[in-house]
Amino acid sequence: MSGLAQVAGDPGVSRAAPAPESTKRSRTAYLLLLPGALWLGVFFVLPLVQLASVSLQSRYPGFPGYYYRDVNVENYVSALTDYAPHFARSFLYAGLATLLAFVVAYPLAYAMAFKAGRWRNLMMICVIAPFFTSFILRTFAWSQILADEGWVARTLDVLHLLPGGHIINTPVAVVAGLTYNFLPFMVLPIYASLERADPRVIEAGGDLYANGFTTFRTVTLPMSMPGVLAGTLLTFIPAAGDFVNMELLGPQRGKMVGNVINDQFLAIPGGYPVAAALSFTLMAAILAMVFLYVRRFGTEELV
């Protein structure tokens, strides 16, 4: 808040300015913040507190589905030990999907920003078009595309490139689904940062004795790092918590942590506290990773 008040005027001037003016200004700022703050309070902070308290509750012995208020750390111990493989799988699959999405998205965003010319808008529409259909429906469509009778599996089978005989219901299908579903979130920020880059700066690389690849490595890529950073976060975070792709495309065993949380909440009687503890653990783990990642690759001057 004090930050807002300072932005409104030079601090030296505002000190000399009559008091009513500045209080009025900050009151306006508070009023503008009110709807957002209320929304966050009711729909984010309260549920979070609720979830935190649930994550520490204990079951009533003999009454499945009933809990009492407690400080039961056992839920967290269970989350970290019994479900460690699920966490590992989530981060592995999300990491692979992020990497794949980056490999696909960067050339696409680069082409859109520098090479597409009059096709640019059409390409942009193609990137955004999937959002017009539900995420679930599109994933269902993928379950058919990757099915044993589908053309992908058939073609690979004919070419003897499918040793297991299946794509559907394997981790490969899950990673493919995650990559597909979060691709636009990788493309758009990278495109935005490349599109904002001054073409003359890239030309300057060539003018200063850097060939095409060196210019890309030393100028273009570093300049697009804010977009890459945003894109990887927007892909990795939701992918790590996702359960739909595993549910529709994945194997019966070897689920991700999102599926466990989903099952504990909805399918297993009395699973609420463990589900809540898993949610908090996932949130904390992602926050820690994002923090380290941004510390390592963050480029605050360019955002």
């Binding site: 700066v201 030309e203 003018d207 200063l208 030393t218």
Partner: protein
């Protein structure tokens, strides 16, 4: 550095043409820029001067013609293969690198063993050493300009290209940087090619100015000679002000041509006219015209007009005078007398000038006056 071409000597453009689709941006230019000179390409926006510069840099390839430095043909080579560096319009500094790393970029790519020392020298030359650790966004426009210059100069290019380098600076800073650029050019002795649309900038800085219009070089020469004796209507109007009138050449009088400009006989030195018969665009610079109340005796070049406006400028007084032809002439009179002639709008005056100061150029409507 694989592919890098050492080349020494004058920069030569031979029949260079650049077409973008149907539009010919640069039309068959022949040009020689002597090694070590300060050369200005001057012209209005869209005249092809920046395209010409980019073809020298290798950022564009000519549709026809050759770009040479000395005896080395650089046509078709990539920018990074040429001993040429550019100071870009709006500077184009690398935003993610510090000032030092920006300047060191070229030497590092060329695997120069002296990269650090040369970077220090270049930063020193433009007085940016104290800010070497900052990022470009933390600098003012003038400071970024110096860094862009250092980043190009550090490579000791055979030719340094400057694309409107002072365009984004305010007037005072621009004047300072003009002097600074001139000093640096004299100090390092490199060939500078300076693209600008500011005629004053071109004239104060360059040894030679090429005036470009519609993809062609209209005239090339020392600033004073371009101003004194323009060879086309475009140059006469683009470089400074000119009082002009269309006339018909009727005969000769010794060394002079006599032309009739709407009933007034004017004389032009034969050697100072591009046309010797038929229609001619007669011109004389405002400071060469003398304003007087009474008709001066015996000079021969005199026209009667009516004062429209008088502006006292301190060192000079500027008059706008309506001529019988309908044109409005502008005249500057230096305020040499304590008691200048008192003229008011509406007064009738006589304008005279030395016939040796007038010039004649083709009326030529193929070239649109600025």
């Amino acid at each position: 550095m694989a592919g890098f071409r050492e080349a020494r000597g004058d920069l030569r453009l031979e029949g260079v043409t650049k077409a973008f689709g149907d539009f010919t941006a640069v039309d068959d230019i022949d040009l020689t820029v002597p090694r070590g000179s300060f050369f200005a390409l001057l012209g209005p926006s869209g005249c092809g001067k920046t395209t010409t510069l980019r073809m020298v840099a290798g950022l564009e390839q000519p549709t026809a013609g050759r770009v040479m430095i000395g005896d080395t043909d650089l046509t078709g080579s990539r920018p990074y293969e040429r001993p040429v560096n550019t100071v870009f319009q709006s500077y184009a500094l690398f935003p993610h690198l510090t000032i030092r790393d920006n300047v060191a970029f070229g030497p590092k790519r060329r695997k120069d063993k002296d990269a650090a020392r040369r970077t220090d020298e270049a930063l020193e030359l433009v007085q940016m050493t104290p800010l070497a650790g900052r990022k470009p966004a933390q600098l003012s426009g003038g400071q970024q300009q110096r860094v862009a210059l250092a980043r190009a100069l550090v490579n000791h290019p055979e030719v340094l290209l400057l694309d409107e380098p002072l365009g984004a600076l305010d007037l005072k800073l621009r004047r300072e940087m003009q002097v600074e650029l001139k000093r640096i050019q004299t100090e390092v002795g490199l060939t500078f090619i300076h693209v600008t649309h500011d005629q004053e900038e071109a004239m104060t800085m360059a040894d030679t100015v090429a005036v470009m219009n519609r993809g062609r070089i209209e005239q090339l020469g020392a600033p004073a000679s371009l101003y004194d004796l323009p060879r086309t209507r475009f140059v006469a109007n683009f470089l400074g002000q000119a009082n002009t009138g269309v006339g018909t050449i009727e005969g000769t009088d010794g060394d002079h041509l006599v032309a009739d400009v709407l009933g007034t006989k004017v004389r032009i030195l034969r050697s100072r006219s591009e046309v010797h018969e038929g229609q001619v665009l007669f011109g004389v610079r405002p400071e060469k015209v003398t304003v007087s109340r009474d008709q001066p005796a015996g000079v021969g070049n005199d026209v009667k007009g009516v004062v429209r406006d008088v502006s006292f400028l301190g060192v000079a007084t500027s008059y706008l005078v309506d001529m019988p032809s309908g044109a409005t002439w502008s005249c500057y009179e230096q305020n040499l007398d304590v008691d200048p002639i008192d003229l008011r709008p509406g007064d009738e005056v006589w304008l005279t000038w030395n016939p040796g100061h007038a010039f004649g150029v083709p009326v030529d409507d193929a070239v649109v006056p600025a």
